[in-house]
Amino acid sequence: MTTLRRLLQWRGPSLRGLVFLLVGAAGAYAAIVTLYLTLSVGSAAFTLGEGTTAIVALQDDLGHRQALLNVALDRCRELLAGTRAPSDTEVDRIRGLIARGSVRERAEPYASVPAELRVALARADEQLSRLGNALSEMAALIDLRRTAEGRRALDRVDALQEAVETDLARASDLARADLMARQEALRRATRHAVRDGILLLAAGIIFLPLALLVVRRRVWAPLARLEEGLQHVSEGDLTAEVAVLSHDELGRVATHFNQMTRVLRDRAEEQGRFAAAGELLAGVAHEVNNPLMAIATHAELRLGDGDLADEARVEMQSILRQARRAAKLLRGLLRFVRAGEKRAAHVNLNDVVRSAIDLVSYRFTVDEISIEGRLDPSLPAVHGDANRLEQVLVNLLSNALDALRGVQPPRRLVVDSFVDRGRVCVAVTDNGPGVAAEIAERLFRPFATTKGRRGTGLGLYISRQLIREAAGDLGLDEGQAPGRGARFLLWLPAAPTLDAAPTAEDVPAASAPVASAPADGSLAGIRILLVDDEDMIRRPMVRFLSRRGAEVTEASDGLQALERLAAFAPHVILADLRMPKMDGAELYARLQAERPAMAERVLFLSGDITQLAGRGLAPVPRDRVLVKPVELAELEQRIQEFVRESIRGSAGDG
């Protein structure tokens, strides 16, 4: 019953089985045809050939010997009929003929001839020997000149010769009949083979369409559907699904394909959400930068008042510090969200580590996590994109923080940087639950996540790819004892230069001023056109710049700026990039077209440097962009440098 049930549920052979069956059937068909033809025709042909060879060889031997003995007999007859005495030479010649004709010179294949013929040939062989012996006697009689006895012996010899001829004739008849029979057998076998060959061919022709139909249904059609699905996916349509119409290998491939596209769809949606969140975050960060700059600028201005009370000074300093901290966090966030194009340079990994820690530091207090570690102060530089390296470190730190949530305090996060065998290394260690062995082996594969639907499964995979692009590697330190936390180690080759990359603390001071430039710390004599739509940013900046001795004119957008420029020739135009009516990029483009010399005097202010490329914005020189919130001292310094360089160059049209 179970067998019957299984039989009813059987859905046919698998694809492998089907291919095997078809190939086997084709092979069996070819083998059967070949074997049949070989056996039926080949066998008869072989029999004919072999038999013919043996029979002809035997008969040739007998015939040759008979001929020799006949010649000897003829000689004897001549000598007996003659009157002269034979010479010794003649007798020896006769004896030589007799000796050669009496016996075979080589073994002959009796086996290939039929029994009756075999016996007949052997009998003829024996008769030839007897004939030879009788001729020997006759030769002796001739030699002894006993001619009369020799003539009498002729009768016996003639009788023997007749017997030989009779036996040979009989053997010839039998041989002929046998050969004819074999030939007929070959002819018959050939006829049968032709007939059967046609039948087999017809059978093959009948089964060919059937086989094609099966192949079409089980192989071609499913492959065509798969191909169509793959084409849709390659064109970007992740909703493509392939119909699963069988349970064989191709059916399973189709099922896996559908699962794969489903996963890709989910991941793409997640990526889209992340991208949208990133865009939103960037927009919000940009909007937050303006008030932060306003706060920082006001605080700086207040701190610049000499009559500020100590308590108020402390408060202003705190306000300024927090505003700068908030700005730094926002910048880091923006950098992380928008990696942008790759820019490789000499990078100090310690700086990257610090930036990454800053980005995730908000979780330390909330999750009661202590951060420890030692960053090697003499760490050599590496060559890479700082943003991408920061992305990797943030990923490692985030993973560690997530893991630490799963254990009871104390929760420790250790970050070390060091040099090991010429490689620059950073290790991120936690005392979380660790990574199970079965997870560890697929940890760096795409879509491998331990965070369920919260994780994309791409973090470690992408991180490793980024590090490997920089000629390094990232891996899990398998030396950690199970359940004793996890340690991820990344390493990069040290950059070719001998000195360590300059850290943030090592940035040298600005170059020395050029002759006839304004004095350090003073903007006296410099005319500045400040273009910004945010009143709360414009006013404190005007106040600061004016205090530093600059002559400042304001505009709230690009159009107004152009109006001002008709009557005002500034040394520097400070323009915000994002403004209504005409933004900074458009203003720059107009100036480039109409007043190129004036365009060379533009410095830009931007709340989001990652938005400089794309989105239809005209390209602006990046080295002239100041990222908000700008520290006033930095603003002053940049303006001084800019003016110096402008003076060094050709004069504008003013």
Partner: protein, 386 residues
Amino acid sequence: MRASSSTFGWGKRVSGPESLWRPGVYVQSLLILLGGCKGEPRAAVIGYAFPLWGTTTVQVARDEIASWPAGRTAIRIVYDSIIQGDPPDIEVMRAQRLAQTPNLVGVVGHGGSRGSLAAAPIYAAAGIPQIIPTGTSRLLRQAGPWAFRLAPDDSTEGALIGRFTAERLGARRVLLFFTNDEYGVGLRDGVLAELAARDVAVLDKVGVDPSSDIPTLFAASLRRGIPDVIVVAGRHTETGRVARAALGRVPRLRVVAGDGALLLPVLADLAGPAADSIYVVAFWLPDAPDSMSRAFVERYRRVTGHDPSPDDPMNHDALMLLAHAVREVGPHRAAVRAYLESLGGTRPPYRGITGDITFLRARKPPLVMARLRGGRVVRVAGLPVP
């Protein structure tokens, strides 16, 4: 009876009354045993392809085989008792009949080179090993991979005869008689080659057979000179009649003949008073001192009541070699053939009465020279074997 699942036959577990499966297993095992035994012959047959009068050796071989401990395969020796005679067509028919014998694993025979040559292709086609005990024709080399020759070929024997004739008997002129068959012609050529190398003149070469007029032929050949020695490359009939015809016509008559002539007492009877002038080649003599020869002579006497002839040990060695082969490798023709081919290679040579037997290379020829004395053969001492 409560049903239970149990192992049955090939290991499939089926449910059923427990009392039924045990007999089923026994029946099944018995069927397998019988079925497995069905294709395995319980007896191996060795054919002896000689006429009835030449089958005395078979009794001795059967006696020896019967003395062996019982083995897996019973060995029988059979011979064709219906077809008698020697001509090649008779040998062909005998070979055909023997080849159809059930369980036949090998054949000893046939008597003589011509018969062996005629029969060899039949055995080769059937895949039956054939041991040729006394055939010496060089044509037997072309008889195929299933034919195994024990005796040295005619060139070796002919060289022995030629050397003996030239060195021991000091012959300078020789008269040569030969039978017009493969044996006689082959031996003749071997003798001629050796005599030529020693510058011994051959006055005449005369073809004879048992029915030839020997006196006439002898008289004709004497016209060419009086020989020192007469060599007969033939059988007992020709040899005896040549010796008798030569007596009184050749001073100090000495006749040297090949192994085919040694058939006593027929040879002595035919030669008459000339018998004691005959020297003859033998494969073995009854006075051989080694233990195997002694044991063979004793057994032969006990079984048959008389002494063995010089040819008997070769036939006996051939029979016992096949029997040993069957005992070693089983009753399979191909295995027996492989066994024979391996002697002296992967296996040591077979120790026979006539010496160590191997087919991989020329064995030390079991040839001795004897002379007739009072109707018996006496070993000629100190004869170097070429």
